[in-house]
Amino acid sequence: MSSRSSSVVTSRSGIPLKAAYGPDDVPDSLRRHAGTLPGDAPYHRGGFPQGYRTKPWRIFQLSGFGNPEDENERIKFLLKHGETGFLMEHDRNTADHLYNVDHPDVQARREDVGQTGAVMQSVREVAICLDGIPIESTYGHAGGAVVQHAPFALAAYWTVARRRGIPLAELGGTGQSDFFLTYLGCVTKQQIPTAAGLRLNADIIEFCSRHAPKWVPVSIAGYNGGDTGLNAWQELGAVIANAIEYLDEVQRRGHLDMATAAYRVGGVNFRTTMDFFEDIAKLRAARKLWHDLLRDRYGITDERALRLRIHIVTAGSMMTYAQPFNNIVRGTMMALSAVLGGTQSLGVSGYDEAISIPSEHAHQMSVRIQQILQHETNIGAVTDPLGGSYYVEALTAEMAERATGFAAQIAAQGGFLATLDSGWLHARARDNQVAWQAAEEEGRQTVVGVTDFRDDHSPFEIDGFPGVNDAYEVARSRLEDVRRERHEVGAHAALKSLEQACRGTDNIMPKMLDALEAEVTLGEIGDVYRSVWGDWQTPELA
């Protein structure tokens, strides 16, 4: 991001930048590690010495819309064009709130249904969505971005796998179950309280550690904090604070050894933005802070756990509504930042992001950007190519220091969950949004095509992708089919059993799997949660 003021030049997060950097700018905290190579602790230079030579980053795009058949077709399209993992989105009107499609709130916005993913109220719909996709050999993201939705989404995906004869122990993939999205990014109605959410995540972490060793149980998504307004070091600090909350809970429960738990939790997500070097520094700092946290707070020495794995999604909020073709360049720059920062997997936001869900073409471009970087630029030949740059090392140290300070601020208020419950984190994000908007409107921050250079000679209009029109009706009829055809007594018994697990302390995942096998539906599970835990109180922002 360029600043037009010549007096003080700062990064997007407000770090003052010098016109040039030299050896004295690299603080002792990193100079001590100057001789380290990628693969050496504290891993700021990368977790793995061979980097992309032995493991290219995974091309991993969010996808989903329409009916389960439409979503299935789009996933196959992306895989055919070179995606190397897939993310299935569930319709947010139903999934986020655990409503079936006949819930009054969903009926009230029925045309929206299927705009953000396919409706999946039972295993049947998930099976359609995954039809013909080789999940035994393709890394899949089962959905379940919102915390209360994750146990359902995971169990449904695993049930499809089991029916295909794929042992859970051999299934690779991930879910999300993200506190940032649930309690900060999209503060919506009817979410379970944060403490109940923490319990569910701990259940998932423990269950996967025992039964699904190749599955990444939960993925802390700094992205959702960042795109809500947290700046780079706040995003990183909050991710660390979030990890502490999960790991402390696992430690308190005492069922898992901490190295195993930390390895399970150590696949996190960040965003990259248009501040190119700041985000490279953020990823390098993230690996170092992860290593330091595990070593110092939990006494972990297992190298596998100490190496943080990172997934990046390029910031959707950087994509402009005006002159959408410019976003192809923005996507490329943010992808490059992610790659130079050493990400393990990457999703590039669509050039039509500000207009609609991605069209097939926008999706294909997101894949092509990554393929060009992987195959044409030789960029993956050398790991951490910016290591040793005075500027990047200094910025990495600064980022680590500021993020550590922010994590300490969160800890001082009782921890990550407490700052979500109180609205403190929301206020930080809101303040930044206001400041950034003001910078644009007052001419201190240029956004090409928006604040300046507004003449557009695009040969045609990008009008967004419309999705389908019948998702609501199809989902209604499928819900009726399930209700008519399932074994009612068995379904009710399984639901009752799930409710007992929720009220007690046993891991809910075995009961969730039983419930989905018995064709219990999403909305019924939501009703159980609501009766057991009630709703989270959305914080009032000052």
Binding site: N93, P104, D105, A108, R109, R110, E111, D112, Q115, T116, T188, K189, T320, Y321, A322, A354, I355, S356, R430, Q433, V434, Q437, E441, V447, V450, E461, D463, G464, G467, T538
Partner: protein, 107 residues
């Protein structure tokens, strides 16, 4: 952000959150508002329905809309007399529109 800009511009803002059409109409009537701003995050036809319900209850109430609005959705809403402010619109323009729409309505 928009709410904050409007408050700074002297408006009393009632934030609805994630409401259904019926809830929006009820709030508009109960609070006797001068203007409704719809934040669109999904299909435009949901908004078109809400506009119809609002107009049935309060025929002269001005309405404007922002959010994720592809060009065709902007045209659809403009045809219904609803001003649109897609991403990239300045807060200044939005506050200005709120002033204009409320003063026209009360004139």
């Amino acid at each position: 952000m928009v709410a904050r800009a409007l408050r700074d511009g002297g408006f009393h803002v009632i934030m609805g959150g994630m409401l259904t059409g019926q809830e929006i109409v009820r709030a508009a009537v109960d609070e006797d508002v001068d203007l409704v701003g719809l934040n669109v995050g999904g299909h435009v036809e949901v908004v078109v329905r809400v506009i119809g319900e609002l107009r049935a209850a309060r025929p002269d109430l001005p309405i404007f809309a922002g959010g994720v609005l592809p060009p065709s959705s902007c045209r659809r809403l403009s045809a219904l007399g609803v001003e649109t402010y897609p991403p990239g619109s300045s807060l200044e323009d939005i506050v200005e529109a709120a002033r204009r729409l409320t003063s026209q309505a009360s004139a």
